[in-house]
């Protein structure tokens, strides 16, 4: 047990810091760490920055060298994310390509698919979005209804996806589609790659309670893609998609923890600045929030260690989403409590919440998306603790 990093790791950290110090300047630095998916301000600058990252080899950090990655260790990836967050560098635009599709192709894709798509991700020239959720398949991926049928050498796709982040900017979408309607629910799915810029695809922003549109709806009306752009084989999409969801965990938690740490500190600062931190009740809540974010860090480090040692995260990793989403919701409520009546006043019209207000509002979605807290508890109960499943009318596995 030792929480110090070794010399090689410290060297890597220095390399990251130096590069960021040299390159994160001017309009890049001015952008700050903000820029959610719905934030259109500075989008072109973020794209340019992402290409700089790609040129310097920071995209695909953990990918194998043979596919153009750097083969960095998990600790190094963690260090990179940590330093990136600490430097308040711009929000990444290539998350879905680098974090989800890339690893999926490396694991399940054909050699042609790898050659065709990995370089575009590494150079930040092709952006991806993810087409899994549907209106009737929120937590129940096996219930996907979007249909794909083969028409000569092309798939023809009709249906609808929701909660698709970045769809309006993406060049490509990876989507789970039903290719065999007669097979049992999760046996008739395929994992397809479709170009976004075509007449058969329409993207509509989905406005959230924050007033902005972090997500989109994507409508497919006889959208087309080449017959060979199915990953992992026809009707094998369930397995491929489960693999993708596995990659979703990754090592991003350390930078996420750092972001939460910063936010917690800004709450403490706010309380002190407004002379609220002397109130014993407020002190309890601040201490509780701070404890929560520290434990998030400790949990993350334990997961990292398990990943290093065994290649798979320990039980505490499966609780991560459940934990941070609840913590962040409580923090949002504390922020409102501290602001008191000022919490009602927006920064501007028509509907412009500030950082605290945004956390309060947006955090309601966090216990829902990518597997609601209820689904997380099912997964933990069944897959970690081995408790018996419920009698289920369908065979779908919860996401």
């Amino acid at each position: 047990m030792d929480f110090r990093f070794n010399q090689g790791e410290e060297g890597f950290r220095e390399e990251v810091r130096t590069w960021l110090g040299e390159h994160l300047r001017g309009e890049y630095a001015a952008l700050g760490g903000g820029g959610g998916p719905a934030d259109e301000r500075g989008w072109d600058v973020r794209l340019a920055w992402e290409k700089e990252l790609g040129q310097a080899g920071w995209i695909g950090l953990g990918w194998p060298k043979e596919y153009g990655g750097r083969g960095a260790s998990i600790v190094e990836q963690g260090i990179f994310n940590e330093e990136y967050a600490r430097a308040n560098a711009p929000a990444r635009t290539s998350f879905f390509g680098e974090g989800l599709l890339g690893p999926t192709l490396i694991a399940f894709g054909s050699e042609e698919q790898k050659q065709r798509f990995l370089p575009g991700i590494l150079r930040a020239e092709e952006l991806w979005c993810q087409g899994f959720s549907e209106p009737d398949a929120g937590s129940d991926l096996a219930n996907v209804k979007t249909r794909a049928t083969l028409d000569g050498d092309e798939w023809v796709v009709t249906g609808q996806k929701v909660w698709t982040t970045l769809a309006h900017h993406a060049h490509w979408i990876f989507a789970v589609c039903r290719t065999d309607p007669d097979a049992p629910k999760h046996k008739g799915l395929s994992f397809l790659l479709l170009p976004m810029k075509q007449p058969g695809i329409e993207v509509k922003p989905l406005k959230q309670l924050t007033g902005s549109a972090e997500f989109n709806e994507v409508f497919f009306d006889e959208a087309r893609t080449s017959a060979d752009l199915v990953v992992g084989g026809v009707n094998n999409g369930w397995k491929v998609a489960m693999g993708t969801l596995g990659f979703e965990r990754g090592t991003a938690f350390l930078s996420m923890q750092l972001r939460f740490d910063n936010e917690c500190q800004s709450v403490i600062d706010y309380a002190q600045k407004h002379d609220l931190a002397r109130d014993p009740l407020v002190r309890q809540k601040l201490a509780d929030a701070w404890i929560g974010v520290q434990i998030m860090k400790y949990n993350g480090l334990r997961t990292l260690t398990k990943l290093l040692a065994t290649g798979s995260p320990g039980p505490e990793a499966s609780t991560s989403k459940l934990y941070w989403s609840a913590w962040h919701q409580r923090l949002g409520e504390l922020e409102m409590e501290l602001m008191g009546p000022w919490s009602e006043v927006l920064a501007g019209a028509p509907y412009e919440p500030d950082d605290f207000q945004t956390t309060f509002l947006a955090s309601r979605a966090e216990t829902i998306y990518t597997g609601s807290s209820e689904i997380q508890r099912n997964i933990i109960g069944e897959q970690v603790l081995g408790l018996p499943r419920e009698p289920r009318p369908t065979e779908g596995t919860p996401r």
Binding site: L209, E337, P393
Partner: protein, 371 residues
């Protein structure tokens, strides 16, 4: 011993509910909340003329129909349920109550008939930048010169302050806190509508510079009135909260019955079912608290200060919890702008903080029961 509404009160509820279903459906709430005024003057007139809602609890001698606070609780509950966008709470629960309990019969005669008839929109300008709801929070000063008063300073978070025709202002003179009547279009008065997170209840910032004002009640005795008004307003707000909370429970239960996941309605899963059961428990308990407080307000009895804080604290928590759970139970659709869940969620939060948050009211209650 009878803890139920009378048949007449239930009839009033049905009438108001049906009126609001007609006049304040979701589309109308959404249209009005995007406007700066935040209400529909035609509907406001109909409320007064067709249903007599503004004058409901105003004594007959001042142009009202002299019903009790219990009837007001029924009306406010329905307004909270419908998220009615209108200056009813500010005009009735704040301004009319202040005027009525000011001991100033001239002011009553001058102002209450206009309120009862729906002509006058009014509000109470109490809070300032410090956001406090206690006497110490009032720092604005009134200056007497000759027989006339002028006001200088500012008020903040004033409900419907930018649209009210009559503003009752709490300010300090040498004698202490006093109440003043100011016209909405008085010279020297600057009014700025605030952009608020909850768009269904409007707030404004008011800047006073040498604004002429008329004293209401006795100089320096304003807190005697305001203390009672804050209790009455807390009861009114608790009633609104109960209506909103019940609506959230209804929405959640209805959705849980029809939304199918994993081949079953989600309401058949204990995770959802038990959430709904807990919501029911809290909503029913909130009703008990708000109704009991309504009776105490109608009686103006000794219990009022305690049960007002009790109801405000409990109903605030119950509403926020119900509104948050409603979003969670709806899943993805629940946090979209187009679904109404967020409107209730935001209203629950703004109501929770209005008149002091639950922590504040629990402390107040502790003092009031002698802890």
């Amino acid at each position: 011993m009878n803890f139920a509404f009378s048949e007449e009160q239930e009839e009033l509820r049905r009438t108001v509910r049906s009126f609001l279903e007609d006049k304040s459906p979701s589309a109308e709430v959404r249209r009005l909340m995007e406007t700066e005024e935040g209400f529909d003057p035609a509907v406001w007139r109909q409320m007064a003329e067709q249903l007599g809602l503004q004058g409901l609890a105003i004594p007959e001698e001042y142009g009202g129909s002299g019903f009790t606070y219990v009837e007001l609780v029924v009306v406010l509950e329905e307004m909270g349920r419908a998220l009615l966008c209108a200056p009813y709470f500010s005009t009735i629960a704040l301004a009319a109550n202040t005027i009525l309990h000011s001991g100033d019969d001239a002011a009553r005669k001058e102002l209450l008939p206009g309120i009862a008839s729906g002509e006058t929109i009014a509000t109470l300008a109490f809070t300032e930048d410090n956001g406090r709801w206690d006497a110490e929070g009032i720092t604005m000063t009134a200056t007497k010169s000759g027989g006339a008063y002028t006001l200088d300073g500012h008020k903040m978070f004033v409900l419907d302050g930018h649209t009210a025709g009559v503003i009752v202002v709490a300010a300090r003179t040498g004698d202490g806190i006093s109440l003043f009547q100011v016209a909405g279009d008085a010279s020297g008065l600057g009014r700025t509508a605030l952009q608020t997170m909850d768009q269904t209840r409007k707030q404004a910032r008011l800047e006073f510079s040498g604004v002429p004002a008329k004293l209401i009640g006795a100089e320096g005795k304003g807190w005697d009135t305001l203390g009672r008004v804050l209790d009455l307003a807390a009861v009114a707000l608790a009633a609104e909260q109960v209506g909103g909370a019940q609506k959230c429970l209804d929405m959640a239960v209805d959705y849980a019955k029809v939304r199918v996941q994993f081949g079953r309605p989600i309401g058949s899963f204990q995770a959802i079912k038990h959430k709904c059961a807990d919501m029911l428990l809290e909503v029913e308990s909130a009703k008990s608290a708000a109704y009991y407080a309504g009776w105490a307000a109608a009686e103006l009895n000794d219990e009022l200060p305690v049960v007002a804080s009790l109801a405000k604290a409990y109903c605030s928590d119950a509403y926020f919890h119900a509104a948050a759970e409603n979003i969670q139970i709806h899943g993805g659709i629940g946090f979209t702008w187009e679904h109404d869940a967020h409107l209730y969620f935001k209203r629950a939060k703004s109501s929770e903080l209005l008149l002091g948050d639950p922590t504040y009211h629990r402390e107040l209650l502790a003092q009031r029961i002698g802890i």
